[in-house]
Structure formats: structure tokens, C-alpha cells
């Protein structure tokens, strides 16, 4: 079965990102496909490479990046939500005259159409949020 995952909250502040991560991992282990993981609202904050969580805690950005790389996941950060919250890739930074970017490896920035498309293509869509 093909599953689409929506993550609506940032890491640490709410558990949503943890739950989505463990769910996605379990789905892959059971042989399901992941159409896309779409990060919306504060969920875009999962995609910054500048986080430095305490050493005795999990690093959610890294966990997502690694899971994405291992399984070829499409990790999409919503462009509109990301701009509002200061999550930019190098192209976006250039386009808006910003002197730095912070998108983490394995994530890409794209539009809300990717969320709708995932809902159309997947057999199931699961939302994780606050």
C-alpha cells in the first residue's frame, strides 16, 4: 500500500514529528511504500540543518534525513510555510536576498500542490500534528 505522511509540527516542541517518524519507519518495515512526507505549518522546522539538540537526546532532523536517504523518501517542505518561518534552501536564500540558508540534506522545498498530489496518489494519508 502507498502511504502519504503529513507532519504539521516542528521537532521537540510537539511529539508529532517523533510519532510520524516512527510510523513511517514501521510502514517501510512492513513493506508499504511512502508516496511522500509533507512538512507543513511548523512542521517545516524539521528541515533545518542548524539544530544542535542535546547530546543525550534524539536528533530528529538527522533521523529524517537518514531515513530519507536509506529509502529514497521524498521529504517535501512547504515553500509558503517555510518562508514564513525562516527555512530556506540556497536558491530561496538567493532569491530573497538572504545571506544564509538552512535546509537540511535530503529535504526539498516545494509547493502545496505536492500535498494534494500525495493525497490523490496515495492509498492512505495520515496527518500528524498538534
Amino acid at each position: 500500500m502507498q502511504l502519504a505522511i503529513v507532519v504539521n509540527e516542528g521537532p521537540y516542541t510537539h511529539q508529532a514529528s517523533d510519532t510520524a517518524y516512527h510510523f513511517t519507519k514501521a510502514a517501510l518495515e512492513k513493506g508499504h511504500g511512502i508516496t511522500r512526507v509533507f512538512f507543513y505549518h511548523d512542521g517545516v522546522n524539521n528541515g533545518t540543518r542548524l539544530t544542535v539538540p542535546p547530546q543525550d537526546d534524539r536528533n530528529l532532523q538527522k533521523l529524517w534525513s537518514e531515513l530519507g536517504e536509506k529509502h529514497g523518501l521524498d521529504l517535501v517542505v512547504c515553500i509558503a510555510a517555510a518562508q514564513r518561518r525562516g527555512i530556506l534552501d540556497a536558491d530561496e536564500a538567493r532569491r530573497h536576498g538572504k545571506d544564509a540558508s538552512n535546509l537540511a540534506p535530503g529535504f526539498r522545498i516545494s509547493g502545496l500542490g505536492q500535498l494534494i498530489e500525495a493525497g490523490i496518489e496515495a492509498d492512505r494519508l495520515v496527518v500528524f500534528g498538534d
Binding site: Q15, T19, A26, A27, H32, R124, L125, D130
Partner: protein
């Protein structure tokens, strides 16, 4: 085909569980995750709501979230089933749609 409803909010602070239970169709399943699992404890003011959900269909709670909050199997309302993340995935696959009561 029936629906899987997820509730990640404590029923003592938020209306998510109450609203969810008010919108169940017969045969729907309810899965408590994150802070929502505190609703699984017996003897609380939320017990009647959970029992209404049990009368309608299956009620489940995520084991790792129960453990984190110190809620042991013997503390739970009778009829609620503990599931792991694999069980969560199965519930999603077995129901036609998933509704998150955020």
C-alpha cells in the same frame, strides 16, 4: 468502509476525544497516541467517553506512549488494546481513511 480516528490530546485539557467520539460511525476504530493515551487510564472523568467509543468499535492505545507516561496495562480501561507502531500501520491500512483529531 470504516474510519480510523487518531486522538493525540489529553481529554482533561482538550475537547478532541469528546469531539471524536461524537463523530464515530459504527465500526470505526479509535487510536490514542501521544498525550491522548492518558485517556486510557481507568477511573478518570474521561472513562465514560472511552466506553462510548468501545461500544462503537475498537479502541487502541500506542504502547510506547503509555509506557512513557507510566500507564501500565493493569491501569487501563478494560477493552482498550495496546498496539505498537506496526499495529498503528496495520490499523491505517485496514481502514478506508484516517482522521486526526488535532
Amino acid at each position: 468502509m470504516s474510519t480510523l480516528h487518531t486522538v493525540n490530546k489529553t481529554p482533561f485539557e482538550r475537547n478532541a476525544l469528546q469531539s471524536c467520539v461524537g463523530h464515530l460511525s459504527p465500526g470505526d476504530a479509535l487510536l490514542m497516541i501521544e498525550d491522548g493515551v492518558v485517556g486510557a487510564r481507568k477511573g478518570s472523568s474521561a472513562t465514560a467517553m472511552v466506553q462510548a467509543a468501545l461500544a462503537s468499535g475498537g479502541v487502541y492505545a500506542l504502547a510506547s506512549d503509555l509506557d512513557a507516561r507510566g500507564i501500565r496495562p493493569e491501569d487501563m480501561i478494560e477493552g482498550i488494546q495496546r498496539v505498537d507502531y506496526g499495529g498503528f500501520v496495520d490499523l491505517v491500512a485496514q481502514h478506508a481513511r484516517t482522521v486526526a483529531w488535532l
